[in-house]
Symmetry: C2
Subunit: 596 residues, 2 copies
Amino acid sequence: MSSYKAPLDDIRFALYDVLDSDALFAKLGFGEATRDIVDAVLEEGARFNETVLAPLNKVGDEVGCKFDPADGSVATPPGFADAYRQYVEGGWPGLVSPAELGGQGLPHAVGVPIKEMIDAANLSWGNFPLLSHGATEALGHYGDAWQKDVFLKRLISGEWTGTMCLTEPHCGTDLGLLKTKAVANGDGTYSISGTKIFITAGEHDMAGNIVHLVLARLPDAPAGSKGISMFIVPKLRVDADGNTGERNGVRCGSIEHKMGIHGSATCVMNFDAAQGWLVGEANKGLVAMFVMMNTARLAVGLQGLGLADRALQNSLRYARERLQMRSLTGAKFPEKPADPIIVHPDVRRMLLTQKALVEGGRLLGYHAASLVDVVGHVQDEGEKAQADALLGFLTPIVKACLTEWGVECTYHALQCFGGHGYIHEHGMEQLARDARITTLYEGTTGIQALDLMGRKIMQQQGAGLRVFLGIIEAFCKEHEADDALAEYVAPLRAKAAEWQELTIAIGRGAMANADEVGAAAYDYLFYSGYVALAYWWARSVAAADASSRPQAFKDAKRETARFYFARLLPRTLQHKAAIESGAVSLMALDAAAFDA
Amino acid sequence: MSSYKAPLDDIRFALYDVLDSDALFAKLGFGEATRDIVDAVLEEGARFNETVLAPLNKVGDEVGCKFDPADGSVATPPGFADAYRQYVEGGWPGLVSPAELGGQGLPHAVGVPIKEMIDAANLSWGNFPLLSHGATEALGHYGDAWQKDVFLKRLISGEWTGTMCLTEPHCGTDLGLLKTKAVANGDGTYSISGTKIFITAGEHDMAGNIVHLVLARLPDAPAGSKGISMFIVPKLRVDADGNTGERNGVRCGSIEHKMGIHGSATCVMNFDAAQGWLVGEANKGLVAMFVMMNTARLAVGLQGLGLADRALQNSLRYARERLQMRSLTGAKFPEKPADPIIVHPDVRRMLLTQKALVEGGRLLGYHAASLVDVVGHVQDEGEKAQADALLGFLTPIVKACLTEWGVECTYHALQCFGGHGYIHEHGMEQLARDARITTLYEGTTGIQALDLMGRKIMQQQGAGLRVFLGIIEAFCKEHEADDALAEYVAPLRAKAAEWQELTIAIGRGAMANADEVGAAAYDYLFYSGYVALAYWWARSVAAADASSRPQAFKDAKRETARFYFARLLPRTLQHKAAIESGAVSLMALDAAAFDA
């Protein structure tokens, strides 16, 4: 079975030493978020995740959720409901929600390490509260006073959980095609009818009610994505005071049999004249949906990070224990029958790749979360606009890179175990199966790439990229005379310049042929991710050196950064070449000729 | 459920048009292997695989093998045993075995397309006959007359199946550590005792007997890998005439619960004073084992290819059917509610990547198989030596690249399905889980890389590489004035020159520091694989143009080659940079400091 220990040391380094969270929180008016409080939250989070959630990860996979067709109920795996009760008692659901709604009012940047721990400890379980968070965001922005009082407060307390009901059998990415209908009842409520699929936590036995946020069409709605509205549809009907009553007309029709996340209920939800309430304006549902979606995308990125870290921890342990062959430079442990496999360069390649992607990726993800705090709380409008542009730019990068790296890290970790990695009992194959969903849901990697290239670069003329390039240049300028950092600063500066040129070249090509946007998108996203990580690794070395941490910690950051620049940053070469080759090699072949 | 159709057209292209198999078979004295006969074999193979094995792929995954602890028996999934009966009746087990031993005496190059089809149709099922093939090779080389008469002939007829019993709980890669013991009984037989794990097809209900080839130590054996001998240990005892009797002292102790290939029995085998016969010389078991192993490595490479092809076929079908969003350059099917996703550049990227790796990889694999024929049958000693060196050089490349590409292709294919790919019923997630074993068994990718770099390059001073570079240069020279091929020939020539320089540079570095071999190995292997594929794609264009095939076929080859050179060959840039960065960034960090 795979084990998990929350990486508190590196989490603290990321928050305190690199992102300078003390100063940021003070500036944004998070008076509660002192170092003492944050430390206590992190430590209690570590305890909860290591001792309550992590031990349930295996049973969640083996037993899974059980659907009862007789009453449409879903039983979660043994221990899941009790863990949720403890989660609610601990006040975790409202950790980053406003105090006036019953939350704890802590910054998002404090919420993400807890999120990372939950995903590492038990991804399947984590999906139950995760969807509440998206619903909370949407209702926080667009709910009216009554909706906030009845639904939002209970989502924040954790008494009820939420869902996002978007996908239908014939439409996932293309929500403009959706068919679910909403008809006004004349009393301010609506009747919702239709079928939604892939509804995470759509039905379960962990909370008193389930608040579905459903996209549907009103009778007079325009066609396509401009005719979509959002509705609250609770599992149990509620009265004006929020008391629950009889079942509403919504029922789970079945749950999916999936490659992984067996402990997470992925439901087909049938709505049959279910009573609902409109959220925000009619036909503006897609805007409200994107509020949920952006939060969810960052959260799914964190899932990739959490799984990658658990993969790293276990493969590192195994590589130190497993004895096999001698080092090519002579026995390192002659008293043992063979050397531990961590002496072999290729095993180190797999471990260092994970370490570089996990620790660098942590900064990528936490930084984005800190931008959520800036956007929500900074006074200066100019700063807010810059942070907003940067957050929009980084969101698809965080989602796609952290999840694809999560898949990659679980791949390397399993490979470190050799044939044993393929066997269920070691837990590595579960991590690999669980990780595989993260590049698919909340928008596939290809959709993230299009969001980045089409919306954030082309439509917004690269506003977010400009902000990020400014941050990189400021860092390079600050350290240009620092010999100890020269090996990182010089190549980072060169890559940043190249990034800008590449972006301009793609934009120029896209004016002549719109397919150039789609053709460049995937490689541009990963090119961007690797340059961003180069920045975070260079900053990590600078921050470690400037800190009072032990020399071994500083050495580890420096050597991992060296590895990153030597062996992972060169992935940009391939992405650049692919981008520069343009759309022609992708579009020339006729669709019918693929198997000519 | 995923479907499968044998790609007969591209198989014929590979054999007849690119590899010029008619001329090769005639030269090697395979009088039976005329085009008519080969065509008939391919067509019957396609029928058998499409109609018998492919429909059992899903039930194999869902039901899996069942172990009965009461008697140590293993029940294979419904239909598996009957399919094996049909396989034996069809004469498939002995397809490439010598006629004098009851085989059909066809070339290996005809056997591999059938192997590819089996692996695509039903990888789990294919593992039962696969291991017989390795045992056949070992006994063909090292068995005595009685062993051939009793065991080998029955393996070739398919009446019995074989296994390779190498791995023990504490040693897989490092066989020098193995502990299984063999003691002479004084009557020419031996008593074998010990535990072997990960024994594919170690127990099942498909054949009359199971012939285990077991590595064990004699009492006076030298320590390490020079003290290993190989023994035949049958499941049922046999008399001098090969009649089976009572159970031998070997029994399945359990079967593994695995990520995939559920229909394949992966057994713990307990040997308790089991009766066995020495194969070949005492303490020379590792040499005999490598005969099995090299065959098995090529075969596992083909598994990657087969799965990749099935992945490609299904994702291509889905991409033509699934309607989602409009093309960025305007609706392509305005009469439909949305365009099929094959219009989108990023979907095409995933499809073309699969197509380029599958069709190029097919040539890589088939070429290696044809070298097995050359080594076994060519008259000229110089030619034989060259083919042998080239085969040894290509074997780790075929094994590692085709399996890693198999994993990659099943990844892209699942991704093309979006969230639906993660659901069991579509069959894509099974392909991904099944593919994951191929980079682990018969030597992990890292071990293939060490074999290539350490043995084939360093120890053999690159003899095989020189032969391959000569073949590439001859091709480039032949076509250097051909304008239609210039876009492939020029970059191929440059890459070949770079390949040679890179190899020399690694060799030079390795003389100073042996860790440079291990540090370069993985990236060198993939660098080599991508240059080799560039050669096969350039040759494919030339061969297609020179053939009488339809224009659409020629166009597809040309455009896929363009895609390959533009978007996949640049992966060499990253591998080259990693190689050139040397061992330092891998070795600097102390093992204890990875989580400092």
